[in-house]
Symmetry: C2
Subunit: 644 residues, 2 copies
């Protein structure tokens, strides 16, 4: 086959203002596909360890995958890889919408951005032609106005734009990049863009994606649609996600007693029922939205407020995670305010999770007297005082006053506040947690503690549905079975959802063999259902190796002390906490083939994963001094650099 299956890369050097093109090796496509697979691989190869995430040596890799822009359902998403300014380690970030399919239509499957522009620019890629354009007119603007002005400037209404707001320009470490009203939310993609003077990336075109076997692919697509319609989660208009979107999780989590309230001081509340997806739908739904076409699930929702003090507020979302971070976490049970906060974060270019969780931490510190009104610039930061959150968010985005403190994230705030506050700074490796208390669903211990981008709910597995909904698992159990559950959910998500890729909400309705049919017929590379999990494991090992090379070791795979020391009780839950994280890590590392002492993937595992070329980057003498950092015996090197 002489055609390019996948992997046409545009490389933009912002320092020089030059472009070049590359083709990904077909063996790499076979091993990791696109998206998070390609992105992590390139990031590992191209970034020296220890670089400053906000310096010109960091890179941004925007990737699609072989399913992007095809007729497969849920194919529009974009994945970005970089080194995170929030955590100092590996980062991928994902956004829905049609940016991915528009990028592929532009003629490229991925874009690597490096260097730093002298003055604000945006990158415009259309039908194979890339240009850097002066962004001075949109610099300083919110993300919604920026998108509008750029479309007008280019006379290209159909373009898809991912752009930063004031937060990214001011290098707030959890600044997001926004396409339409969807976010590359986590870990500071927006700050990295800001550090490069890159206001936006704009993509459009009419190029068709390569499909190896069109007829067979069409059959597989048809099959996937049938399966989606057959699933209680994804069936059009009736499935749980279709009708309610991710907010469907709220009642489930609140009932299970894992819905975090007031900075994880509580985990269930009758008040939280006012935030339920049914309430959202009943009072605020404008319409169901397919964030990219074709998607029969339409889990995205437009919500708007018609009356009362928040009238006029409008957002695509909030998703469950925002109902957590600006809901229970800050003691707020007013849906209208959450809709408005969600829209405000989108416009400022802020991650709603890190913003809300950092504010919740500040609130607990305030209520405990660790900080006072003198510190907060007069804000009465009690839980539930949502009015002050609006001005605080603006101050975070503009990096001013107390906002400049909260904008640094929970880890740095705890370092600054001291007085034992780090025990309830709810982050892992600097990444604020997703909205699931692991004390009530122990699989989440591993997800948060070992997750490749720190304490997020997406990157390291998603066992919680099986734990709280089915009968198969005891959710309070810390036994070995949790390791396999976490690893399996992780591996499927990493490859199928993030590397092929298919939106995880859509993919929830599509079986493994159908997934393998889709990717095999799209690429012409035979991928079995088993291969999907192997590929996910391979990509996860690349991510882990990136982090280990940055100095991450077993001792970093831990949780906030609150989960380990404070027991939780409510109704049916009695005195639960994370009892033995060490035992869980032992089990998990053993399953994964990671060194029990250090948490570094063993040379044997790397060889099995076809990643043996990485080994010498960490393991001593593995390649007899020929590889960087390799020197004398098969033991892991110490940290290459201090973690930021």
């Amino acid at each position: 086959m002489s055609e390019i299956i996948f992997g046409k890369i545009l490389r933009a050097d912002l320092s020089k203002g030059t472009f070049s093109q590359e083709i990904v090796d077909k063996r790499d496509v076979r091993d990791v596909m696109g998206g998070r697979g390609l992105g992590s691989l390139l990031l590992y190869r191209e970034l020296a360890s220890g670089i400053d995430p906000l310096g010109p040596d960091n890179k941004l890799i925007f990737s699609t995958g072989p399913l992007t822009g095809t007729t497969a359902p849920g194919n529009g998403k974009i994945i970005v890889n970089t080194k995170s300014p929030l955590t100092g380690i590996y980062l991928f970030s994902v956004s829905g919408g049609d940016f991915g399919s528009r990028l592929r239509a532009s003629g490229y499957d991925a874009v690597i951005i490096e260097g730093k522009a002298k003055s604000p620019v945006y990158l415009y890629v259309k039908d194979g032609v890339a240009t850097l354009r002066d962004a001075s007119k949109v610099w300083g603007r919110g993300t919604q106005l920026t998108q509008e002005l750029i479309k007008e400037d280019l006379h290209d209404d159909g373009a898809s734009i991912s752009c930063i707001g004031p937060a990214g320009e001011r290098l707030v470490p959890y600044a997001a990049s926004i396409n339409e009203r969807r976010a590359l939310g986590r870990g500071g993609i927006g700050a990295v863009m800001g550090s490069k003077n890159l206001k936006a990336i704009v993509v459009n075109g009419s190029q068709k994606p390569f499909v190896a076997y069109p007829d067979e692919f069409s059959r597989a697509v048809k099959q996937s649609f049938l399966q989606i319609q057959d699933s209680p989660l994804t069936k059009s208009g009736k499935g749980l996600f279709s009708r309610l979107g991710s907010p469907a999780m709220l009642d489930l989590m609140n009932e299970a007693g894992v819905y975090p309230i007031k900075n994880y001081q509580e985990v269930r509340s009758s008040e939280a029922r006012r935030l339920s997806a049914e309430e959202l739908r009943k009072h605020y739904l404008i319409k169901d939205v397919a964030c990219s076409t074709p998607c029969p699930v339409r889990c995205s929702k437009y919500y708007g407020v018609k009356d009362g003090p928040r009238a006029g507020a409008f957002s695509e979302g909030p998703e469950y995670e925002t109902l957590y971070s600006f809901g229970g976490m800050i003691g707020n049970y007013d849906l209208a305010s959450i809709i408005e906060l969600d829209a405000l974060c989108d416009d400022l270019g802020l991650d709603t999770i890190s913003a809300g969780v950092s504010i919740a931490f500040a609130m607990e510190c305030f209520e405990r007297g660790i900080i006072t009104k003198q510190d907060t610039g007069g804000l009465d930061l009690r839980f539930g005082n949502v009015d002050c959150v609006f001005s605080l968010l603006r101050d975070i985005a503009f990096n001013r006053g107390f906002g400049a403190v909260v904008g640094q994230g929970s880890r740095h705030m705890a370092e600054q506040f001291g007085q034992g506050s780090e025990a309830f700074a709810m982050h892992c490796k600097g990444m604020e947690l997703g909205g699931y208390d692991p004390r009530g669903a122990k699989g989440m211990v591993l997800v948060f503690a070992v997750g490749p981008r720190g304490g997020c709910h997406h990157g390291g597995g998603f066992p919680i549905i099986a734990e709280v909904m089915g009968n198969k698992y005891d959710r309070f159990s810390e036994e070995e079975e949790k390791s396999a559950l976490v690893a399996n959910t992780r591996n499927r998500r990493v490859s199928f959802c993030d590397a092929f890729p298919m939106c995880s909400f859509t993919a929830a309705g599509v079986g493994d063999s159908c997934a393998s049919e889709l990717i095999s017929t799209a690429t012409g590379i035979e991928i079995t259902a088993k291969n999907i999990y192997e590929m996910g494991e391979r990509i996860s090992n690349i991510e882990r190796m990136f982090n280990c090379r940055e100095g991450i070791r077993r001792e970093n795979d831990t949780l906030p002390q609150r989960f380990l020391k404070e027991t939780l009780s409510c109704d049916d839950i009695t005195d639960t906490k994370v009892e033995n994280i060490d035992k869980m890590l032992d089990d998990y590392y053993a399953l994964l083939g990671w060194d029990l002492n250090t948490g570094v993937p063993t040379p044997e595992k790397l060889k099995e994963m076809n990643l043996d070329w990485m080994t010498g980057d960490i393991w001593l003498d593995y390649s007899a001094g020929k590889r960087r950092n390799g020197c004398s015996s098969c033991q892991p090197l110490d940290m290459v650099t201090e973690i930021e």
Copy 2:
């Protein structure tokens, strides 16, 4: 000529849900052209006197003109005629943007809307096909979201939409209808739409406007562009309006001492310089905008706020009138707040002039103790307290609390407040004044007192530029020459700008003979420069007759007592007030051929204007009982109904 020159009308009966089409008689086109000419004529013919402006008998007439949608500059505007819920008399309202040209492209030159829909609908007209569509999804939404949702709903991104916000839905008498970010601002078009359950009118299509002599028309268009480039007002990028837009007026008016401050208690302020167009441009300009194409003037501006507490605020505008109503009038000299208030009014669907002037009136009443915090719901309504204006505007739009009082406009507020407050309620006939103190430019006495829609600055002439800029006129003089100045500026604007029509800012650069060439070659009807003024006079007489039929007489042609009784002094201005409005009215009526006793156009004037068919509607026995209201002798009837 068998082609339709102009005047294809779509009539939509919302009560029945039916449509019909009509063609305007060519003699009517010759007499009044389109826009305000056609609209006033149809309104006069079709509305019985005394109807309720918010009842189903009122009609909305959306009109374009023969120049609309052609290649002539500034051709996109739309004119709407109706009976005003704010004043109870005649109303036209004008908006820029491309709604007019999109309407014409839909295949119709005008749309008449009558009756009342049973539930919220919007009207969609595209390429000759009209449909009424369920508006329940957008009812309750702000104007910006409404436009977006409707475009998505119709999959018609290029459509132009004029829609109401919460204010129109709640029948606030100065509710506007908004297309893009431009307003059919004055007099309550939005409330009339709301009363009909009409959320929006949506137009698009690909029909080309009729042009009688294309080659000659092209030459005239070319000539008009050359003249525009030759004018110090309109030259692209350099002319006063081109560079600064209508805010250029601010410094001029402030220097002249006619810029109203604190509800016309003062007329010049060094602080007002902070609101100047140069400041706006320097600190807030995003870009110059042609609100419709082709327009070389680009007087419209995008302004945005990048920093400080108003960061993120964005508006197309504010225009001068908003820098008056939300600036000096309320004692506010913060441009960023005015940009945000402007955008808020657009989104709520409120006229910025009536809103700001009504609030300024409330502020003066508050400072004088006529109303207290008990009345204002706790608002500290001192001049300059701009923070409380944001919440008050929302309450006006939602018709709640003290907002429900201010939302009724100055006239009704004064009736309610009493205690002599009517002396400084700054309206004529219920319409809040434009931003020019007539005590310092006496031509404005006639504009405000006699204007066809009440105290507006647009409808009844625009002498102020000649009064404050040139040497020809003594601006403090109340002599006869002012009558001619007012009448001439009125007549040109009414026909050329509002009936042909061409945007008045563009038309400022185009000479009369070029204007006559444009309209003659477009229509094939020979219109001389002199005819332009005659046509303006004819249309003005139609408007006057409409008002006289509603009961308007000479005694209603007056000004707020403040102008007649309170003298004004500042620097070079000493003790000026309006000395003798009666003398000015005598002169003006005499010039216009209006009866000196009553202010009704005389039968002779009506005959001269080719409007003798109207005479019997007011003058007794004129048509020997054959006309409504005609009975016994050539004297005017008394009021047909009480004015609302």
